[in-house]
Symmetry: C2
Subunit: 477 residues, 2 copies
């Protein structure tokens, strides 16, 4: 069992760090983006790896839990400890230096507290691209993005966050430092600790620095919205895009008409791109090297697809502004969803070829639970759907408290039966600990536990995230 | 301490598996490609995951070590146990089914004993590419390639083997099976066990099946040999290629004149591509999508580079045969090296920008040890050099026994000082266990040991590979 932060322990920490490291225990650190859960804790913001290490050593000595806090944008409660002994909330916000940029190596090394948009900017300043891109990029920080192996819109082309990281610096649960900040593309010297730390959601150590991979900036970029007759046609279009444009396809997002209807109903205001709203459409984004224009590539794709009956309508962006407008629609669907208020939201992935059947079976299965509006959209290129279930018009989230568990179970059972994942890109945090126990392979669960116990024997690192604390039940959400 | 395979234990295994599973304990299983080390063991070749599991359960019960044996092409002795109690050598050769191909998902699922060339062929049959490519592809098997996180010539574009794997099936050291054979592109449900098993060299479990990532086949391929005035110019050319051709650059290999001289000296016979042999040249290989010809792209690159003084001469392949001829040179340099016989070979990686200085300093440092011929070549795009040190003409490897340790130490010390890796793509096996102990970060070494002990508490999985056995010294090599 862990100990709470006591006034005496607060004094211990105050003796270790300068006054600037101490923050008020206020909302940004103790609430989540949608206001669903609140946490507790004593907030400390060290400014260096050594300061992080000194805090961790003190916590280890006193058996006090540590909740690493990065940008605070996580959606599964990994940054919030609701119950149990009051922990230290360790914010990375003051570790915000870009340590070095190596344009000739396509590498950038930074503190874990740097905001994603600042990394993107630093890459752009040297003519490179850091391709990780997601809605919260203006506030999400690198440490949390690595800790959760964040996804986003460019995974199809550039991979998840783990694919964009070459090396890490990590403060271990005993306060020692793993100096793994390599800029190497190849290094086969022992187990892959980097990928073990990435996605571990701060339960095995605190990422304090990272060497990130940059890529060449595409010479030309473009986008098209294409109406497709079905999800199956969208998948065939994806394969066709791969065959014609290769790795040049940066993003391939699917949107259902429901998302457009929500935007019309509650905003934000967007410009309707089609004369007649299709049931399904995809946003195809490309970034190409010299010698071929994005518009020509997208036109070629559209023509081939049209002849094959894979698309029924389409708009190819003729300017950067029009491309931005397409993305504005896609990126505001989550905001419209938030305004409507979901009964239950699911960040799921499936084998690509299973998606049409999943959409079909999901609709049928939910109809047996009740009457809902389903907004299914997301990163089709990655098999990652945000499958969100909403009240019918005129009713609200609060009216569906009774149905919520059944909705969630129906969706997750179906995902599991079809060999999918109940958390594609958001992670486990505390909200999905029970789901992981329910759906996780038993051998896998044993290994997760063995690794946690081996690397954090005191159990102080982000207690209750990913795996339940031995002495406590998982959080109720 | 482990127990040896006794006649009684042999009978236990014979009762578990059909007669076809038992092989003679002969050379292919007990020697390495260059004949440097020999192993020992009782060879068993199960034909299914369940059979593997039953062997492992028996070994766990009897505390008998298991050496997983895949294609036997490893160069660091990971597949050979020279000393200690006689182990079971578990060959994957009879697990050679391609289980399923999903062209629309770009996924192939296979047994771990499938030969790499057979996977490449199965991908080609459905119009896709499995881009892992290396000299031993005709005999290397998927399990070993994953176990060692093999590299090869296309890492620049497609990543190491780990980047080409979506899911794994693994028999754990207690004989239970982890069913992690997912075809998902995104799955953030707990620690990254897949990447932990990949590169663990069979010390945490036996990979029995894998879901592999396929990619679209490039529409057009091409290659060029370009003479560069220096390694620094080669790096600038690499950056220029990225800027102009983007991800279309599949391979970027550097070769020193020494390799051409060795080919001339001992063969295999190759056609000399340049009128005057340059000190350094690079082989640039591209694969492009529709709309742009590889020859045009390479010509564009050459012209820009020539004007910038980055290349002095060049030949662009005008046919597939000519491209093959370029690759024939590159791929036969290791064979020429073998015929000459190295004093010491090093599979190293460095931060890209450090390479010119490393080459300069390496030459100087070795000159203080003795007089050698250095053949430095390899995957420049990945910062991965095969930095091999040879006798002067007229002398042989055997004449240099006394100098070998000093040569190795000088090279590895320099690599380490310049933040490089002493094993870029070959792994640790048994030959580099001491090197890992010498050069590895202490915190990292502690974590490796903790993970090994947590996941293989009996220490039966590939004992002495990667980490020394607790009760035994590391192998002398």
């Amino acid at each position: 069992m862990l100990n709470p932060v006591t006034p005496e322990f607060e004094e211990t920490l105050r003796a270790l760090l300068p006054a600037a490291a101490f923050k008020n225990d206020t909302a940004p650190y103790l609430s989540e983006p949608r206001g669903r859960w609140s946490g507790q804790g004593f907030v400390v913001a060290p400014a260096s790896t050594e300061e992080v290490a000194s805090v961790v050593r003190a916590c280890a000595a006193a058996r006090v839990g540590i909740v690493p806090y990065s940008g605070g944008t996580g959606l599964v409660g990994g940054q919030l400890l609701q119950e149990g002994p009051r922990p230290v909330v360790l914010s990375l916000e003051r570790m915000n230096r870009i340590r070095a940029v190596y344009p000739s190596e396509n590498v950038l090394v930074c503190d874990a507290g740097v905001i994603l948009a600042d990394v993107q900017k630093a890459a752009e300043d040297v003519g490179r691209l850091f391709p990780l891109s997601l809605a919260s990029e203006g506030s999400a920080r690198i440490g949390g993005l690595l800790g959760t192996n964040a996804g986003g819109v460019n995974v199809l082309r550039y991979g998840n966050t783990r694919a964009l990281c070459l090396g890490l610096e990590v403060v271990r649960p005993d306060g020692s430092i793993w100096h793994g900040l390599t800029r190497l593309r190849k290094d086969n010297t022992g187990y892959d600790l980097r990928n073990l730390m990435i996605g571990a959601e701060g339960t095995l150590g605190i990422i304090t620095g990272a060497a990130l991979k940059l890529v060449p900036r595409p010479v030309g970029v473009g986008a098209a919205l294409m109406a497709v007759p079905s999800p199956a046609a969208a998948l065939e279009l994806l394969a066709l895009a791969g065959a014609q444009i290769g790795e040049g396809v940066s993003a391939f997002e699917i949107m259902n008409r429901q998302g457009f209807d929500f935007l019309a109903e509650v905003g934000p205001e967007t410009k309707q791109p089609f004369d007649t709203l299709p049931e399904w459409c995809v946003l195809v984004d490309v970034g190409l090297s010299a010698g071929i224009s994005p518009e020509a590539a997208l036109e070629g794709l559209f023509m081939t697809a049209f002849e094959a009956g894979l698309v029924t309508d389409g708009v190819i962006a003729q300017s950067h502004a029009q491309r931005d407008a397409f993305w504005y629609i896609r990126e505001n669907i989550p905001e419209a969803n938030r305004r409507i208020g979901s009964v239950s939201s699911h960040d799921i992935s499936l084998p690509l070829s299973a998606i049409p059947e999943f959409i079909h079976r999901g609709e049928k299965a939910l109809a047996e639970v009740g009457v809902f509006r389903i907004n299914c959209f997301g990163h089709l290129g990655d098999g990652n759907l945000h499958y969100n279930v909403f009240p019918v018009a005129g009713r609200s989230r609060a009216d569906y408290e009774a149905e919520r568990p059944a909705v969630k179970r129906v969706v997750h059972d179906l995902v599991h039966a079809m060999e999918g994942s109940i958390s594609a890109e958001h992670g486990i945090g505390r909200a999905k600990v029970k789901d992981l126990e329910t759906y996780g392979d038993p051998a896998k669960l044993e290994m997760l536990r063995a690794i946690k116990d081996a690397l954090d024997p005191l159990g102080i690192m982000n207690p209750g995230a990913v795996l339940r604390q031995r002495s406590m039940p998982p959080a109720e959400v």
